[in-house]
Amino acid sequence: CEKELIQNPNTSKVADNFYTNETELEEAVNAVFATLQLTGVYNTAMPAVGELPGEDAYDETPANDGGVYGMLDDFNVIPQSELIADVWEDSYQGIQRANIVINRIQDIEFAEEATKDARKGEMLFIRAMLYFNLVRTFGDVPLVIDEVANPQDYFGQTRTPVSEVYLQIISDLDEAVGLLPVRNDDNKGRVVKTAAQTLLGKVYLTLKDYAKAKSYLDAVVESKSHKLIAADQVFSLENELNDELIFVVQYASGLSSNTEGSDAYRMFNPTGRVEENMTGTKGHGVLKPDFYALYTEADARKDVYVKTLESGLAFNNKIAVPTTVVADSDSDWVVLRYADVLLMLAEIENELGNGAEAIDYLDEVRNRANLGDYTGATDKESVFGEIDLQRRLELVWEGHRWFDLLRQGRAKSVLGITDDSKLLLPLPASQIAADPALIQNPGY
């Protein structure tokens, strides 16, 4: 009966027998993409981290849901927050999954070498993107780029300095740029070369290396893979994966018992929003009236990107109303798009002293919004002011604002923060408890 003691799972796969061929590797790649849909990544947590601390959005019901959104809004996040625990856990889950594929793909034969390259590039892109989110959110974080065989070996691992993590991010993205394909109709839902270039441009911009940032973003423009489209088409469900979008995390409603949709609609729409019999929104990310007032009557984005309830309460309208279940919105989460590239380039050119080029990029965005060319003062500061305003109006509720203010070093002045420690979020208390080698950020 000794044979009977060897029992292998019949309904789940086992790592020993997996990752053996292209099909299985593709499955693993899909599972890496799947982590981007998690709560702690682009479902709700990263958008909230990127938006709520900014000056335009706020939490209408800050005490609700354990206060995790309200804390971001009020700069009093506690290490016990479930939201930051999700960011940490889900991001690292994605990183580890990417590590697995990167580790295993080398020995696997693919029908097309280009596909293999593309998959590897996708993994590097995703890993870099997640680390980029982590360093901007927490500062120093433990860097793991190998497939973990025994998790217990990682007790005692300390936080890697931000600068070293950035080296890895840059190296990953550099490699990805070389591996990823040019965007076409078949691959537009995946990671394309311009996505890695855009992200790398953003990384360099964050590091204030304007020249390098410019070179990568210029490449995006020159690729002609992307263009601005009508404002009311950018976030339209009929027009998903359109040319303006560079990288999105895809969601779909009504699949797998309503589990593939996004929860962003429910979480961030005002509590008073009723669309037919669709109710149950939670109000964790509405917009301030004075911000809504910045949209002029002519602005094509008004009542498209943003709208108000009858009561006057303003909200982000980029996420489509779900059809059956409130937590199952069909909208993809847009991570990178061409308008962001143009506005980053405007900012870079302005910083490099090329005001005219900056205004050209700015005008592309203004004209799409029906605002006409920029006619204001052309000094660096004024142009920056207009670029900043257009970033707010164009990219509202796409999870950029807080990180923009951080990289520009303006979070304290714009938001009135006096305590430097508020510029980073605390590490999750559960992780400090799990391994004392992780030292909490100061002030928490």
């Binding site: 000794e2 009977e4 003691l5 029992q7 799972p9 019949n10 789940s12 796969k13 086992v14 790592a15 020993d16 997996f18 499955e27 693993a28 899909n30 599972a31 890496v32 993409f33 706020y58 019901t61 800050p62 005490a63 206060g67 804390m71 506690i78 690292y92 889950q93 580890q96 697995i100 433990p142 973990v148 065989a149 025994n150 998790p151 217990q152 007790f155 005692g156 691992q157 995946r190 994966l241 779909a252 699949l255 797998s256 018992s257 509590t271 019999n277 109710t279 109000g283 509405v286 301030k288 004075d290 009561s311 006057g312 059809t323 059956t324 279940v325 409130v326 208390a429 559960s430 391994d435």
Partner: protein, 1131 residues
């Protein structure tokens, strides 16, 4: 004897019938009763007889004349015996019987009081009589007679008559507790020889508690066994902890063995009808349990079900009880008027405290909505609810719904058990039918069980016998998830506001009124109240039914190969089929979503489990003079397969079809698991003159669950005992009549890690590309090929004493268990991509003392008195955790701390000593960030000037310091009164509802009366010491301290009046008239009274995660008080 009966004339007419039928006929039509041994009478012999008004002797003579049977008539009893070898004369003497001597006498008990009904029989004959009410007897006996005097519960005596004509005999009570046979693994043993620690309880002691399952009946009855009835919902199992929790994250279920068949882990005891149980033996120490090896670390529960008996008359027993239950909990919530007061304070203070300089309580809502801060509109929770004004003004007659009254009911419970048992000289049988029906005290919950039992054993020959035990049962349980804020009645009690009615004026259920109204707008701002559905609607309309059909049992063959050597082959099986159907209709709202909702929710979960077991054992039992030897060797193999599918349906057009069939799209999950266990076992038991006892056992287990490098484990044990009272030097007439000292050591294992715990599993995680599912699979659990057994080494030292001729028995034991290689789901640093990894890590110790005292058969006149008491102490200490890890802090706010040198899951919290009443106090006292006035004040325990996690202190654990139980029974003539108390000391709980809803002071839930009366409010309650009500500006300091303030050391202690039972057994004369053999009526009550400080639902509540023991939630179904009336009748 005066044969008055024998003068009666009877008629009988039978053609070509058997002796057996003849006997039945006579017994049915007359008062005569036959007494015989089956082997002495040829029951199948055919006869014909026709008699009209004949003397019995004459009829019997006709019938037995030609046979090999002699008869003797004594009163109404006819004794049939085998004819002596000497050939009988054709006319056997009928009357007078051979009478040579008449003897009379009196039989008394140990106190000299007469014993009515004692049996006096001439040894070697059927000649005998019973004592009368005064203990007297008269008997005519042959020469050289020896009298055997016996009485149930007393030691039999033999008296040589000699020339005496009167005899007085005083009987000594039998030391029943010590003589009785106790079940041990794969065998049995007399209690006086048991060296390990085995607790036994009999059905009579169980039935004092009316419950669906035996676990509940066991609570408080035995030392070393804690039954946590953590879920009082009908049909739910209790948590059974034997001598402390010995594991951290592996399963903590004891192994349950029914009639020799080990059920798979976590098996519900609900499939066993308590009425079918004869005894329960609990193997507590490793030496007793080690024979069950890798599954025994949490203790072993051996259940023996009722069986028939050889040569036993067929008995039909009907046992019926019915009664009512009521909830008993510590929960007490405020009424509508107090709630209006609280909510107004909470909303006002939430508004004012955000900007005290610019805001005032007296601001009307029209002003409030203009008081923006940093451009942000106010939170709707800062509005004053104008609707509440009439309540604040104390107007009478307003809606004031007591939702506890709506959620709870007086619920019926009833049980019907019918059993038939008996046997002839070869075959014995027991069969039963049971029906149990319990409505829960919470509306929408109920449980029904239909069960049967068949136990049959038959001799093929003197050397070979076989048997079958089969137990089918079918149960239906209805209950929604009580903890849910969307549909559970209990979870909704603190959220359903007393301002709303449960029913409309027309009697229909009031659907979604609260959901809609709590989201209404004032001045264009939603009030952000508590939008939940009416619990009456959810409880009645949301369907969640669980049906289980299960049949388990075994069949065995015993063959005595040579004298003393027995081979047994046993084949066991367990089939368990479970279906759960869930439906949440469109027509009932859920949290934040009023009815009609856009879709219904439905799923169906089906699981089937097939388990089989093959056991081969050889037992050799031999006595050579004073040497007694018992050797056991065996091989067993067990395999289980579980299949499950879960189908979720969405896209319901309406509520017409209330299950997944009404859905338009489906998703399904399918899973299957197999585990196997192969074992070799051996045991040697030896005793010398029942005085020196020795036992050694070993089991070798191989399990499919463990890594390839660690598949096999060995589990040895040794034990020794000394019955010093049997030594010659020991005074035989002293106070101490029995004394035994024993010591044991053994190792047991735990393998409850799930079926594929050692594998790195690759599981599904899908993405959508272009709106279509793209299946993803990736490693989600880390591999561990070294994963092996959790091994518990335990030591037991015991002392057993019998006093006053063993009427008083005292047992004490010291136990100490070290568990090594703990199967721990270690929380690992998440940068690895994993949250936990299952590994053999760490070490833990459990130790304590057990005392048990039992007194029986103490007589005061006709009053019989018995009593029992038990006390057990528990000390648990973690000795080691993972490498580089000295503590695991987990659970709510990481307040559950398991660290080296401390017990598992200590609940940490800040010491809170009141509230900050002024800004000045805050400024001059260490405080948490964001503290505002009215917030709780934590004590700076380490005096370092800041409040941080270093100021948290341990407030104790869920695992108690000690548990105890005591009770007594008193009998007088036919009356029997018994009662039991039980208690738990040193238990701490953290309740999620108390800390986040009912005592947090946030305005979302209805507060407890305790909170309301002690809340701080500068004007309305300036002496309050709990946080000021605050809705909408609930500070971080409150969030951090709200759990601490409800966690007090020992808040889960309780003392409970567990059961009270008064029964009356009808006396013989009435039974004769009713033609029944026994009739008992009784009334009983359970959980009549509980003394506890606990303000939540149930002080036995806990999370099933051991690292978070003592964490309870709002769904914690309270234990009910039960009052029943019952009747037990046997034919």
């Amino acid at each position: 004897a005066n044969s008055t009966y024998s003068q009666n004339k009877i008629s009988v007419k039978l053609e070509n019938t058997t002796i057996a039928h003849f006997i039945d006929e006579i017994e049915n039509s007359t008062d005569f009763r036959f007494v015989y041994r089956v082997k002495d009478v040829d029951l199948k012999r055919k006869i014909s007889i026709s008699a009209n008004d004949e003397l019995i002797e004459k009829i019997l003579r006709q019938v037995f004349n030609a046979g090999k049977t002699e008869f003797t008539i004594l009163e109404n009893q006819i004794y049939l015996t085998q004819a002596k070898n000497t050939p009988k004369a054709v006319n056997i003497p009928i009357t007078p019987l051979i009478i040579q001597q008449s003897i009379s006498g009196m039989i008394t008990d140990e106190n000299g009081d007469p014993l009515p009904g004692a049996s006096v029989v001439e040894k070697g004959t059927t000649n005998g009589t019973a004592t009368d009410f005064d203990g007297n007897f008269v008997l005519e006996i042959g020469p050289d007679a020896v009298l055997e005097v016996s009485y149930i519960g007393y030691k039999s005596q033999e008296i040589i008559v000699g020339s005496q004509t009167t005899i007085s005999a005083q009987l000594e009570p039998a030391s029943a507790a010590l003589e009785e046979v106790v079940l041990i693994g794969y065998g049995q043993q007399s209690r006086s020889k048991v060296i390990g620690s085995v607790s036994e309880i009999k059905s009579e002691d169980l039935q004092n508690v009316t419950a669906a399952t035996i676990d509940q009946q066991l609570a408080g009855k035995l030392s070393g066994v804690v039954i946590n009835q953590s879920n009082g919902q009908p049909g739910q199992d209790s948590q059974i902890v034997i001598r402390g929790t010995g594991t951290l994250t592996a399963g903590s279920n004891p192994l349950i063995v029914v009639d020799g068949f080990p059920l798979s882990e976590g098996s519900s005891l609900g499939s066993i009808n308590p009425n079918d149980i004869k005894t329960i033996n609990i193997l507590k120490d490793a030496a007793s349990a080690a024979i069950y090896g890798s599954r025994a670390a949490n203790g072993v529960i051996l259940i023996t079900t009722k069986a028939g008996g050889l040569n036993k008359k067929t008995t039909v027993t009907l046992d019926i009880y019915g009664g009512v239950q009521q909830q008993s909990s510590g929960m007490d919530l405020v009424d509508a008027y107090q709630f209006a007061q609280f909510l107004t304070e909470a909303r006002n203070w939430g508004y004012v405290s955000k900007d005290p300089t610019n805001r005032s309580e007296s601001d009307p809502n029209s002003v409030r909505v203009t008081k923006l801060i940093d451009g942000k509109q106010i939170d709707g929770r800062e509005l004053f609810l104008t609707d509440l004004q009439p309540y604040l003004d104390g107007q009478s007659g307003l809606v004031n719904t007591d939702w506890m009254d709506q959620a709870f009911r007086t619920a019926p419970i009833s049980n019907y058990a019918l059993s038939i048992s008996g046997g002839n000289d070869k075959t014995q049988y027991y069969t039963s039918l049971g029906y149990f029906d319990q409505e829960g005290v919470v509306i929408g919950t109920d449980y029904k069980r239909y069960s049967a039992s068949i136990n049959l054993e038959s001799k093929v020959s003197e050397k070979v016998k076989f048997g079958v035990n089969i137990k089918p049962s079918y149960s239906i349980e209805n209950s929604v998830d009580q903890g849910s804020r969307s549909n559970g009645a209990l979870g909704l009690i603190p959220l359903n506001s007393p301002f709303y009615r449960a029913y409309n004026a027309d009697g229909s259920v009031n659907i979604s009124e609260q959901l809609v109204n709590e989201q209404h707008e004032i001045e264009g701002v939603r009030i952000n109240g508590t939008p939940v559905e009416n619990l009456v609607a959810t409880s009645n309309e949301v369907g969640d039914s669980k049906q289980r059909f299960r049949v388990f049992g075994n069949t065995y063959l015993d063959a005595e190969i040579i004298d003393g050597l027995t081979y047994r082959l046993s084949l066991g099986g367990d089939y368990d089929s479970y279906i759960r159907n869930y439906y949440y209709p469109i027509s009932v709202g859920s949290y934040r979503t009023p009815a009609p909702r856009s879709d219904a929710e439905a799923d169906q979960y089906k699981q089937s489990k097939v388990n089989y077991l093959i056991e081969n054992t050889l037992t050799y039992d031999k006595t050579y003079g004073d040497h007694h030897l018992n050797v056991l060797a065996g091989y067993t193999f067990q395999k289980e397969r579980i299949d499950l599918t879960q189908v979720t349906g969405t896209g319901f057009a309406d509520d017409n079809v209330r299950n997944i069939a009404g859905a338009s799209t489906f998703t399904a999950i399918s899973d299957m698991g197999i585990w196997t266990l192969e074992s070799y076992l051996a045991r040697l038991q030896y005793d010398f003159g029942a005085r020196y006892l020795l036992s050694a056992a070993i089991r070798r287990d191989g399990s499919s669950r463990f890594g390839v490098n660690n598949r096999w484990g060995n589990f040895p044990s040794v034990s020794a005992g000394w019955v010093f009272s049997r030594e010659e030097f020991f005074p035989s007439d002293g106070l101490v009549s029995f004394g035994k000292f024993s010591a044991s050591w053994g190792q047991t294992g735990n393998n409850q890690i799930g079926t594929y715990g050692s594998k790195a599993l690759v599981t599904g995680s899908n993405y959508v590309f272009n709106g279509a599912i793209s299946p993803g699979f990736i490693t989600t659990s880390a591999p561990n090929p070294d994963l092996g057994w959790e091994i518990a080494s335990s030591m037991n030292i015991g002392l057993d004493l019998g006093l006053f001729n063993n009427k008083l028995n005292f047992t004490m034991a010291y136990y100490k268990t070290n568990t090594k290689d703990l199967l721990l789901d270690v929380p690992v640093p998440q940068q690895t991509g994993y949250d936990n990894v299952l590994a053999n890590i760490g070490e833990m110790e459990n130790k304590g003392w057990e005392f048990q005292l039992a007194g029986n058969n103490f007589m005061v006149g006709n009053l019989g008195i018995g009593f029992n008491a038990n006390l057990t102490s528990y000390q648990n200490k973690v000795l080691a955790l993972g490498p580089g890890q000295d503590r695991i802090a987990t659970g709510r706010d990481q307040l559950f701390v398991t660290q080296i040198g401390h017990p598992i899951a200590e609940i940490y919290g800040y010491k809170v000593d009141g509230v900050f009443k002024t800004q000045d106090e805050i400024d001059n006292y260490p405080h948490l960030d964001g503290t505002i006035t009215g917030d709780l004040r934590a004590v700076d325990v380490n005096n370092d000037g800041v409040i941080d996690s270093n100021d948290k202190v341990s407030k104790g654990t869920y695992a108690p310091d000690f548990t105890y139980g005591f009770g007594a029974n008193v009998s007088y003539k036919g009356f029997n009164l018994s009662f039991n108390f039980t208690g738990v000391e040193g238990r701490t709980l953290l309740d999620d509802d108390l800390s986040s809803l009912t005592e947090s002071g946030e305005g979302f839930g209805v507060p407890t009366t305790y909170y309301f009366e002690n809340r701080y409010h500068p004007v309305n309650n300036p002496d309050g010491f709990l946080g000021q009500p605050n809705f909408g500006n609930f500070s971080n300091s409150r969030k951090i301290l709200r759990s601490s303030v409800t966690v007090e050391e020992g808040n889960g202690d309780y003392f409970r009046f567990r059961d009270l039972r008064l029964g009356y057994d009808f006396q013989q004369d009435l039974l004769d008239k009713l033609k029944v053999s026994a009739l008992q009526v009784y009334v009983s009550g359970n959980n009549l009274f509980t003394s506890t400080k606990w303000r939540g639902w149930n002080p036995d509540g806990t999370s099933s995660n051991i690292l978070e023991s003592g964490y309870t939630t709002g769904g914690n179904y309270p234990i009910s008080s039960t009052y029943t009336v019952g009747l037990k009748i046997s034919y």
